[in-house]
Symmetry: C2
Subunit: 144 residues, 2 copies
DNA sequence: TAGAAATAGGATAAAACTATCCGAATAATT
DNA sequence: AATTATTCGGATAGTTTTATCCTATTTCTA
């Protein structure tokens, strides 16, 4: 459903959020270890998220990544997905038609619409805070 | 959402079904033209669908592809998707965790489950016949 | 039976995605 | 000021997906 990059991006954001609540910056190394992802590849994704102002990065010794703790609850999953994978997951036609709308629909347009709308709603209504809290409480996990 | 191969596979199946109702076999060339796909690549996908017994292929002059007209209404979208993309779309974890279930869920497990279940239900409850009829009646389209 | 019209299938190429490497830049610490 | 820890960013490599090419095989038709 999502690209590998997007999966890493979401997991990394959750881990960064978790630490930001405790005012701790986390290093690339720590993130990659925690979410079980390749370091250099993860670095690219974090740079991307930083460019999109979803996370903040600080260079140099004692540097790393963090998220404004007061912004965590307002960051939606959709923003992360959008930053990394773009909006094709919402907007694209299920069968790849160049133009697919009510006027000129592909054969699965209506049926797909329901699924995509549910996905869209889910991504837009889920924020980083709730995901981070599930990790903190041990209800959910970031690896294995 | 689906691979390009899967998109072509679905569109090709619809077009073959449409012609099979009129007892017409269609050639690779005609299919690729109709669904606007690369010929040789489409050939591989059709071979795959034939191996999975979803369509029938006939070699030689006057050969081509067809579907048993009495089977069209019982062929589900899920069978086509499954033949080409496998079942990862149903089974895989949204965040790529190796094991992700009620016992050990990823942070988006529950939220994702709803979307995936809806997708699964949609694919399993949609058959080739209804899709083909929408094309026949001019309500839906296979290209542009 | 020869020739033409198709699909089958192996080999290869191109593009996109995933992953790695390394030097440059930056910031804290000593 | 030098050293160290760290992110940034360009270059490169590996893998998967998408696409193409060519020959073999099959089947119909004349």
């Amino acid at each position: 459903m999502f690209s590998k990059a997007c999966e890493y991006g979401i997991k990394a954001s959750i881990f960064i959020a978790l630490n930001s609540y405790e005012n701790k910056r986390v290093s690339l190394k720590a993130i990659a270890k925690e979410i079980n992802s390749p370091e250099a590849f993860t670095a690219k994704i974090l740079q991307d998220l930083a460019r999109h102002n979803i996370i903040n990065s600080t260079k140099g010794a004692h540097g790393g990544f963090e998220i404004d703790k007061y912004a965590i609850s307002s960051i939606k999953l959709s923003q992360i997905v959008n930053a990394i994978d773009g909006d094709s997951i919402y907007k694209g036609c299920g069968l790849g038609l160049h133009t697919c709308d009510e006027e000129h629909p592909c054969p699965v347009h209506d049926k797909f619409k329901a699924v995509r709308d549910e996905l869209k709603h889910m991504l837009e209504s889920t924020n980083l805070e709730e995901l981070a809290l599930d990790i903190k409480s041990g209800v959910a996990f970031l690896k294995t």
